[in-house]
Symmetry: C2
C-alpha cells in the first residue's frame, strides 16, 4: 500500500517539469509542447494521480458542486417517482459539464429552513442551487439567495416567481385546461376537482386551467365540488369519498396528480362504482402507477427527467454569465396520455 496520495508536485518531479506545466496539462492549457504533455500524462498514469478537487477550488476556481434542495417531510415521500426522476435528469446533465450533485433534504415547515439552506450552500461553497417544489415557490428563500448572491434555478415555480428567477417546468395551467377540454369533449358536464397542497402553486395552476376551460364552456366552476389532498394515494382515497357521494354525483373527477387519482380509483371501486362507466377519473404526471392501475389512467405526461436536466443546464448557463440573456421561465412540453380511465358519457 502506497503512502499518501500523490500530489501535483510528485507528478512534476517524476516527469521532470515544473508544477505549473503539470497544471497546464491537467487543465488542457495552451503552451505545452506535445512531447512534454506526453511525459506528464505518463507520470500521471504511473502515479495514478488524481487532482484534489478541494485544493483546486481553494486556489481559485469553482467548486463544481450543485446543490439539489428537496423536501424531506413525511407527507412528500410517496412522490418518490417525481423526486427521483428530477434527480436522475439532473445527474445526467451534471456529468458532461463536470459538475457534481449534492443532495440536501430540508423540512419545508421548519422556521429556519432558509438559514439552513444558506448555511449549507455557503459552507460547502456550492456554485449553485436547484430548488424543487415546494421550495421553488418560497419567496423568502429566493430573496435570501439573491441577497447572498447565490445562483439558483427553480423547478416548476408558480406564476408569482416565474419572472423573478430562472425556472423550468411545464405549463400547468394549459395542461389543466387541456385535460378539462378533453373531458368536456367526451360529454362531461358534472365535474369535481381534487386539489393538492396550497403551497404547491404549480398544482394550483392546474386547477386554474380547469376553471378557465369550464368558464369557456359556460359552466360555473364554483358550482362544482372540490377538496384538497396532500398528493398521496391515501389522501386521494380519503378525500374523494365526499366528492363522490351525494345525489348529484359528478361524472368526471380531476385529481391534481396521479397518486391521488389512483386513490380516487380505489375509493370509487370501494363505493361499488363501475369504472369508467360510472365515473371518469384523470390525473397529472404520468407516473408508473398510472399504467398499472385499473382502469389505466388517462393523464398528462410531465417530462420530469427532462425538467431536471434543463434545470441543471440553465443553472450552468447562469453560472457562466448568460443570465442577462434568458432569465425567464422555460416551458417544457407536456402531452395528454389517453388511456382508459376516462370515457364518453
Amino acid at each position: 500500500m502506497k503512502k499518501a496520495k500523490p500530489t501535483i508536485d510528485d507528478v512534476a518531479a517524476l516527469s521532470g517539469v515544473g508544477r505549473t506545466t503539470v497544471s497546464r496539462v491537467l487543465n488542457n492549457g495552451p503552451n505545452v509542447r506535445p512531447e512534454v504533455r506526453m511525459r506528464v500524462l505518463e507520470a500521471v498514469e504511473k502515479l495514478q494521480y488524481k487532482v484534489n478537487a478541494q485544493a483546486r477550488f481553494l486556489a481559485g476556481g469553482r467548486s463544481q458542486l450543485l446543490a439539489l434542495i428537496h423536501a424531506s417531510d413525511l407527507d412528500s415521500e410517496p412522490n418518490s417517482y417525481y423526486y427521483s426522476g428530477l434527480e436522475l435528469g439532473a445527474l445526467r446533465a451534471c456529468a458532461p459539464a463536470g459538475f457534481q450533485l449534492l443532495m440536501h433534504g430540508v423540512n419545508q415547515h421548519s422556521l429556519d429552513r432558509v438559514q439552513k439552506i444558506i448555511d449549507f450552500i455557503a459552507s460547502r461553497r456550492c456554485d449553485g442551487v436547484i430548488l424543487t417544489p415546494p421550495f421553488s415557490d418560497d419567496a423568502d428563500l429566493h430573496q435570501a439567495l439573491l441577497r447572498q448572491n447565490i445562483a439558483h434555478v427553480a423547478v416548476s415555480p408558480g406564476d408569482g416567481l416565474r419572472r423573478q428567477m430562472a425556472g423550468v417546468g411545464m405549463d400547468d395551467e394549459v395542461a389543466g385546461y387541456e385535460i378539462t377540454r378533453y373531458l368536456l369533449g367526451l360529454g362531461h358536464r358534472r365535474f369535481a376537482f381534487l386539489q393538492g397542497l396550497e403551497s404547491h402553486t404549480s398544482a394550483e395552476s392546474r386547477y386554474a386551467g380547469y376553471r378557465r376551460a369550464l368558464g369557456e364552456a359556460g359552466l360555473s366552476p364554483d358550482a362544482m365540488p372540490t377538496a384538497r389532498g396532500n398528493f398521496t394515494f391515501r389522501s386521494g382515497a380519503d378525500q374523494s369519498v365526499d366528492l363522490l357521494k351525494g345525489p348529484q354525483r359528478p361524472t368526471a373527477l380531476i385529481c391534481a396528480n396521479d397518486d391521488m387519482a389512483t386513490g380516487a380509483l380505489f375509493a370509487a371501486h370501494r363505493m361499488g362504482l363501475s369504472l369508467p362507466a360510472d365515473l371518469s377519473v384523470v390525473g397529472f404526471d404520468d407516473t408508473p402507477v398510472s399504467e398499472v392501475v385499473w382502469p389505466p389512467l388517462t393523464t398528462i405526461h410531465q417530462p420530469i427527467r427532462q425538467i431536471g436536466a434543463r434545470a441543471v443546464e440553465k443553472l450552468i448557463e447562469v453560472l457562466n454569465g448568460v443570465e442577462s440573456q434568458e432569465f425567464g421561465f422555460e416551458v417544457v412540453p407536456h402531452r395528454l396520455i389517453v388511456r382508459e380511465s376516462a370515457t364518453q358519457i
Copy 2:
C-alpha cells in the same frame, strides 16, 4: 452587497483574537475562556461567517463527503422507489453526523466503471462510499476500493461478498423461504418463479429460499417453471405469459420483486384469469404500487429507508476505526405483508 466572503481572519480581527482561537471556537475546542468564546461567536454572527468546508478539509481533516453509487442504466429506472428510499434513508443518517451525500450514477455495464468510480471518489476526496445493487455485488470494484484503501459499505450484497466487506440488507434467502412456506400453507403445490437479473445476487437468494422451502416440502424445484425479467413491470408482464400458459398451469407465481409481480397481475388479467381464485401472485419489497393494484399484492416488506440509514451509519463506524469490530453483514428485519393476491387453493 458585500465584497468577498468573510474568512476566519476577518472574524479574528473583528473579535480581537488570533486566528487559532477562532478555529478553536469553531471546532468546540478546549482552552478558550467563555468570555472570549462569546466575543468570537458574536463576530461570527455579525459577519455572517461560514467556514469554508474545502479549506478546512485541505488543511487536514476529512471531507465529510460520502458518495452514493447507483446504477444509471435505463432498465433500472422503474425501480425509482427503491433507489429513492435508499437515498432518503442515507440522507437522514448523514445529517446528524455532519456528512453530506454526493450522488453518482454509473453505467453498470461500462467496462471502465470501476475506474470511473475510483476517479470520482479520489478526485472529490470522499471519505467513503455506499454501494447499491448491482454494484454491491461487484467483486472487481470491491477489490479496487480495497486496494485504494477507500472505505465502503454495500447495500444488500450477495452471499459471496458478505463476509468481505461491511454490508446491510435483509435476509433474502429466508424471505424467499418464508413466502414460499406461506404459499405452501395455503395449499399450493404447483409453482412458478419469475427471477430477476442474474447480476443482482440478493434477488437470486430469494429464489434459493424458494427452492429450499420446496425441497423441504418434498417438491422438486427443478420441475417448476422459471423465467427471468429485469425487475420492471413490462418484463413481468411479458415473461409471465409463458409461465402461465400450458396445460399444467401453476397455481402460485412468485416474482422476485413487486414491479414484476404487478406485471404478472396485468398479464394474468389479460389472459382472462380470475384473480386470486385462478392464480396467486406474490412479490417482494412492498413498494407503493403493491397497495394500489388489483388484487393488492401479498409481499415481503423490505425496510429500504432503514437499510439506507444503517449503511451510512456503518460506513461512518468504519471511518471511525470501529471496522475491526463489526466488519460483517447486518441483517435488517423483513416481514410478510398479507394482502389479497394470494389465496387458499
